[in-house]
Symmetry: C2
Subunit: 290 residues, 2 copies
């Protein structure tokens, strides 16, 4: 099954043999005090740096989250979306827990966006899905409702419900991207094995595309990029087709592209080899100017 | 199913929840002209460096191959095995295509060795398995006979035959480690997907442990360590329990240890966190002396 996300001029395909979709997660004030202060002052200038870094790192889609409890998130989203679209032709993922901010972002967006996110709670489904449908967007569905189930079968049931209710709102399964919930392995040793079991269940039973917040897995641990790289490769090989991740983490992006090649989603390694040549050329250029 | 390999003082367990077994592959003259010349002159001094590097890199078992067509491999193996056992307490994998060299190595070895390797060809099985049985060793069985089958089902059949004939010679399944055959993905785009399918078939049908020459996958390609790291993580998550690999490749060893943690074979990350602390301590010591 293929999910397509579009900007004005670019279409990104998720799933069904396409390369893994890297959704750059950096445009988000969580844990960034300076950026929070800027947002509170209505200053979006940091986005220029963040967009440039995510694009340079190889992101396929950019997540845009400008949520801060002390800022006017709705106005910020309305301004951020066209600003980011002026900086890059990558499609965007409009990310907010505030429904009016999602609506403002979708209203300002040119193309077919991805919406981050809805849960399996009736109230959220009934508020968010009509907006997604009205804008012809795709949506990320988190495999939890009012609680976060640990059992893969329960997560599958929540995912099934989201796909079903989305259908009731006229959103086809290919426009629902399920998040099977990556959790910190430092807090729960079974976090990844349960995650992988959930991925396989959703792949085999629903066949929809999947994404997750990949960095959650390594939360609080040393060697986060090595853990993230291994987590992404493994998850991709069991059916994950996308991840929300910081494209500045070279080791993680390389792991995803290597796994594309290994799994036949980059036949003969054309992208892999081209990326290697570009890296060598950049190093040579840097050496020549220094 | 657990395979145990032993030196005089150390037991390494492969499989059944144990951490992935890294078999250090560096002690091998393939592609090393200087080492080849030394072996031809009967000089084994290079082993001191190679053993130290593999141990420092985190190998669990060391592969010992001193084969060179212009050297007396049998005498070299007879000398190399006690020399390596004097340098490390890691168990060894005695590696040769010459049956008399395997026999010389096993005769000189103290402990329970792993023998690398036998194929599914009747002649090789009937020559090598009696030696393995007599020495109470374990053996790597390559999933090919006189040809290298591409179809996972055919590789499974060869593996099944090896396990069966080993049983006829009194070698139990837990002492047979099957190599599902890692092949260059640069030459055959399906190499890894077929490999993974073979791994799953062998895991589900035979339940024996598995190893492979991991670096084969990235042969001839740029970015070999990143490809190797992703290949190892993915393969481990589908059932591979060991690999013959160069432990000097930090990225690859880290990927294996990260995957141990992610898959619950390093609960709470005790080994992962201890390795990180050791690395920080080593960096601090280096900074203090420089």
């Amino acid at each position: 099954m293929q999910t397509t996300i579009e900007s004005r001029s670019r279409t990104v395909v998720i799933g069904d043999g396409a390369p893994f979709c890297v959704i750059g997660e950096r445009i988000n004030p969580t844990g960034r005090k300076a950026f929070q202060a800027q947002l509170q002052a209505g200053d979006l200038s940091q986005l220029e740096i963040d967009v440039a870094e995510q694009v340079a790192g190889g992101a396929d889609v950019l997540d845009v989250n400008v949520g801060d409890p002390l800022a006017d998130e709705i106005e910020l989203m309305r301004a951020a979306v066209p600003m980011v679209q002026g900086l890059t032709d990558l499609p965007l993922c409009i990310d907010s827990s505030i429904i009016e901010a999602l609506e403002a972002g979708l209203g300002a967006y040119e193309g077919k966006a991805l919406v981050n996110s809805v849960t399996g709670e009736d109230e959220r489904l009934n508020l968010i899905l009509p907006i997604v449908a009205r804008h012809g967007a795709a949506v990320i569905g988190l495999a939890n409702d009012d609680e976060i189930p640990m059992e893969p079968e329960r997560r599958l049931e929540v995912a099934r419900k989201i796909v079903s209710v989305a259908g009731d709102h006229g959103i086809p399964p290919q426009d629902v991207v399920i998040d099977p919930l990556a959790m910190p392995v430092g807090a729960e040793p079974r976090a990844v094995t349960l995650f992988l079991e959930t991925v396989r269940l959703i792949r085999d039973n629903l066949g929809v595309n999947m994404t997750c917040g990949a960095s959650n897995t390594s939360f609080g641990l040393p060697g986060r990029h090595a853990l993230g790289a291994a987590f992404l490769a493994v998850s991709q090989s069991h059916g994950l087709t996308s991840a929300i991740m910081d494209a500045r983490a070279r080791e993680c992006v390389e792991s995803v592209r290597a796994t594309d090649f290994l799994l036949g989603q980059d036949e003969w390694g054309a992208r892999w080899i081209a990326a290697h040549r570009a890296k060598l050329a950049a190093q040579a250029a840097q050496a020549a100017t220094s």
